[in-house]
Every structure is written in C-alpha cells, then in structure tokens.
Symmetry: C2
Subunit: 331 residues, 2 copies
C-alpha cells in the first residue's frame, strides 16, 4: 500500500508523528519522523554497550526522546507511537532483544516494556533489516512493488522480505537470512559457524579478507596505501576506493565478491521470484563495481523469465533509512 | 485454515464436491472428490500429447468427467467447480498452459476456457507442485502449519510455498523453483540450461546419471542387474532398490544425492524459516536413505535455531495427492 493511500484510508493526516529509535552496536539514534516520511529532528549518541548496562542505555534514549518531543513543540496527541529497530535476534511479540551479536552483554532486554513504561506510548520493535526493508518499501526504492527483497551488505549481510505486500517473518522470526545461504560447500569459514556462506564471500569483512590474503602475492599497492600501509587496517571501503581509481587488483576482488553476490541473488530470484531486489550499504557505495559482476552472475544462474521481471537496484534512502525504519513500523 | 474450519465458516457441508483433473505428461486423470478429502471416483487415460491435439485431449477429459458425474449420481448443485493441476509454466489468471516441457506441442492452451465452456462449471488452474502443496497442507502432512515448503523430487524437482497461511506465487508465478538454486557453481549441466542446480544433483535422472557414470569404475553389480544388465536402463528406482538391499555402491550414491538435497533444504530453511518441509515422490520411496544424509547436511549448513523448528518429513498423501490437488484449489 502506498503511504498516501494508507494515510487516507486510515484517516491519519500527514501531521501524525512517530518516534523512531535505532539501537546500533556503535551508535544509537532517536528521531522524530512524520508518517509521510519527513525527518524533523534527530539526535544520536554512542551506545557504549560495554560501559553501561542495557537499562542505562535505554534510560538515556528515553531522556533524549523526551527532549526531542519538548523541543519539537508538537502536541503529544499527534504522536502515535515509538518504532524501535535493533539487531536481531529478538522476540517481536514481547519486544525483547535476545542476544544481538553487536551488543555484547545484552541478554533478554525488554525494550518494549521499558520504553512503554517510561514514555507512555505504544512501542513496536523489529529487527533492523526488516525495519529497513519496510522503510525502503514505503518511502524508498521499493515503492509500489508487492514482492521485495531488501538486502544490506555491510559488516554482515542481513535481509528483509516483503512477500505479497506484507513483511514475512517466518516461523520463529528467522526468515530472510540470505547472507547465510551456502554458495561454496567447502568455502571459507563464516562468523556464524558455517562455511561458504554468502556473508563469508561478499560482506565487507569478506572483501577486506580477500584483499589481505592477496597481499602475499604482491598485488596490493593502492589498497595497502589507502590503509596506511598496514594490511590489518584494510577495509572494504579501501578496496572500493582503490577500484574507483581503476586499480586492477581492487577491481578483481570486487568482481569476485560481486559474482558470489550474484549467485546468492540468483538463488533468491529462483526461490522468491521478487519484483525488486534492493541492495544497501556497501552496494550503494560501490555501485556498478559490485552490481555489474552480480548482474552477469544472475544472467548465468537464474532463469531469464524470472530475472527479467526482477529489478536489482541500490537502496534509495541513504542516511534517512535508520530514521524511517522506525516510522515504517507504524504504517 | 483447517479443512473442517473452512467448511464450517463458509457454510459448505462435506457433501460438496469438486472435479479434480490432473494433466500429466504420460497419463491424465479425472476424479470426483469431496471437499473433506474423500476420493469417490477416479478414471485415468494416457495423455498422448504427440498423437492427439491438445484440444483432442481436453475433449476426451471432458467426456470422462461427464461420465464420472453421471455414474456417481450426485446432484450437479453439489459440484462447486473443477480444479486442474498441470505442469507449468502456466498463466493462472487466464488458466492457460504456456509450454509445459512434459507436454510437447502444447503451446498457449486455454484449459480454463475450454473446460468452463464444455462443462459449464467454474474452473481453477494451478501448476502441479503448487496444487500438491495445497493438498498436503489441507489434507496431508502439512495440516495445521502456517509456513510450509513442499518439494517433489522425481524427474524434476518442483516446489510449492505456503507462507503465512497462503500459497505464495511470486511476481510472475515463478516462485518456489528450489530445484534450480545453485548448489555447485561449476557443477553438472541441468536440463534447464544452467549448471550445478539442485535438480542436476539430486533428482531421479541425476541419481541415475551418477550410477551410470560410476559404471566405468566397476562398482555397479546389483544396480546393473536390476536394470537388466543395460546401463542405459538404470533409473533412480534401481538405485534405491539396490540400496535397500544394502548394496554399498547404491548407498553411496544416495548419500551423495541426499547431501546435496540437504544443502538445498538448508538454504531454504535460512531463507524461509518454514515450519515443515514436505518431500514427495522419490523421498517417499527412498525414505531415510535420502533423509539421513539430508538431515546431516542440514545440521551442517543451516542454523540450529531455524533447523530445529523445521520438521522434514515425507509427503503423506501418496497416490491420493493428484486427486486431492484439484480439490485443494477450492479450499
């Protein structure tokens, strides 16, 4: 459903607002967002999971939220709720973060309860990949489509599935782990404990690892220079930046990662026959350096009549994705 | 929704009937089925796609249908419609078979129009994997589950997806082609034109091919004997039968195919987090000979907390699946 249509049908005017809270491993942000997609205010602060208790972090976010509401001057009646996006795994029903790998020490943290109690507003909680999928669907690259796969490629590979016009969660909220499909049965180890996952072949750290491993063959100058001469400091961003300057070694690494990405997307197309696949984070930065080899692999590994109905595109919301993720939970 | 609940909610009593028509590459069948799942009558005949025009075949099925209705003595008012299952690709909306590989010469055959015209009953058409998925969900191994993957492993590998309690078709009716996910990037050629598809590694013909290819190493006696001494006559059934008698060569082939199957199922679990995966045809025949290696591969290639929520089981309907497939389209 389009945002406008939803607002008309539900009698909600665009002056309705949501507090969007994004809890990340490094930083957390609170923003005041209109349901029509305007970000009015935004504040962020370090999450500091190792220095503060989870409850300390939540209290601090509550203080930030209250300040933002007061500063904005909006009437509390026009605030319909709070949308929280955080790293999974989490229990959506109770709004409890279970043990997100990016928040060490956070175990069974009842985010929904705490925020509802302290803010006196209804709270919805969703894992960040799903919430961003909803945001791209309502406000970004996915507008108007019915079947969408959103995949973000950063430190890990997360995904959210909109199927038949509805977020699909799976049986116990684990659907959409496209980053952990097996691409190479005896491939490199993945942080998840398996081998040969897409994430172990095409995520940011996988690209950096490919670059570091190639060091020993001497094909490395520009990437190494960008990393200040220290191979351990190499990140995927250095590889992308070197490739943008035409460095053949960096281009080769992105071609390899992009090919694996394409095989994973081809499998996704064969399984889900989506209308759009929206790719975030690293793909937005690298663009065609990853998309061109990915598209070539899709042509080789997916059926034409499914592939030609599926648009592969970078995410459109950029920095606004985090803020709109919480709002999208209320559409 | 359970069959009983559906019947109560929609005010339909169990004395309501459907004509189920299954159009297969070799044989076609017409049956009279009650919505509660009883098969009252059934007739089948060779499809003979190379000897008759598509229209000739449809006319013959109409004659068979009329005979069955008359013989059954049921009142025409209690017949709510016709459910047709056939090999894809097909256009569900118009009920047109497009160019099914198992029916050479059938191109854009308007099955729905023809049957509606000649039988004066409403007609629903669905591809056979989807229709059988619905049948297993309503009447068989999938009862009560909300997220089901049905996969049939025979000459090809077809699948149907029930997601959030609804058959998921995808953008242009191509969802669920799990047999054509890539398991080995440089694997053996698949009939679909790609390489390394699950279907090229674990279908009936793939198992027979593995057996034939191993002939040259001399490890073949029992399988070859079952095939009458001619390697070209070896089928997957010979391999399964030899394995059931403990033949180590046949056991090894099924272990290999079962492992590939398990990798494909692990990918499916990571992507869709289903509650049940129901496996038809060859898996029903081979049972644990394929399921044991498949389960071992799932343990290695899928996350435990998704895998332990997913029951992997053989299909339950057996020979009744074809008949109930058409009826399930009316639930």
């Amino acid at each position: 459903m389009s945002v406008e249509l939803f607002l008309i049908m539900s009698g909600i005017k665009s002056e309705t607002y949501v507090i969007s809270i994004d809890i990340g491993g490094t930083k957390s942000a609170v923003s005041l967002v209109s349901l029509s997609g305007q970000v009015l205010r935004r504040e962020s602060e370090p999450t500091r999971p190792t220095e503060r208790t989870p409850f300390g972090t939540l209290e601090s976010l509550v203080t930030l939220t209250k300040e933002i509401i007061v500063q904005s001057g909006i009437a509390k009646e026009s605030l319909i709720g709070v949308g929280v996006s955080a790293g999974g795994p989490l229990d959506r029903e109770t709004g409890t973060l279970l043990r997100p790998p990016n928040l060490p020490g956070w175990e069974a943290v009842p985010v929904k309860c705490v925020f509802e109690e302290l803010l006196n507003l209804p709270v919805r909680v969703e894992n960040d990949a799903n919430a961003t999928a909803l945001a791209e669907w309502h406000y970004g690259a996915g507008r108007g489509a019915r079947n969408i796969v959103f995949m973000t490629i950063g430190t890990g590979i997360g995904a959210g599935l909109i199927l038949d016009g509805k977020l699909y969660h799976g049986t116990n909220d684990l659907a959409g782990e496209l980053g952990h499909q097996t691409i190479l049965m005896n491939g490199p180890p993945c942080l998840c404990g398996k081998r040969g996952c897409l994430e172990a072949l095409a995520s940011g750290p996988a690209i950096a690892r490919l670059a570091r491993e190639s060091m020993m063959y001497g094909r490395h100058k520009r990437v190494l220079a960008l990393a200040g001469g220290n191979p351990n400091h190499i990140t995927a961003t250095h590889v992308v930046d070197a490739a943008k300057k035409g460095d053949p070694f960096a281009l080769g690494i992105l071609e390899e990662a992009g090919t694996y990405l394409g095989v994973g997307l081809a499998n996704t197309i064969m399984m889900l026959n989506p209308e759009k696949i929206i790719l975030g984070t690293l793909v937005v930065h690298a663009g065609d350096l990853l998309l061109t080899p990915a598209r070539a692999a899709i042509a080789e590994y997916a059926w034409k009549r499914a592939a030609e109905r599926c648009e592969i595109m970078p995410a459109a919301l950029g920095d606004r994705a985090q803020d709109l993720a919480g709002a999208a939970l209320w559409l």
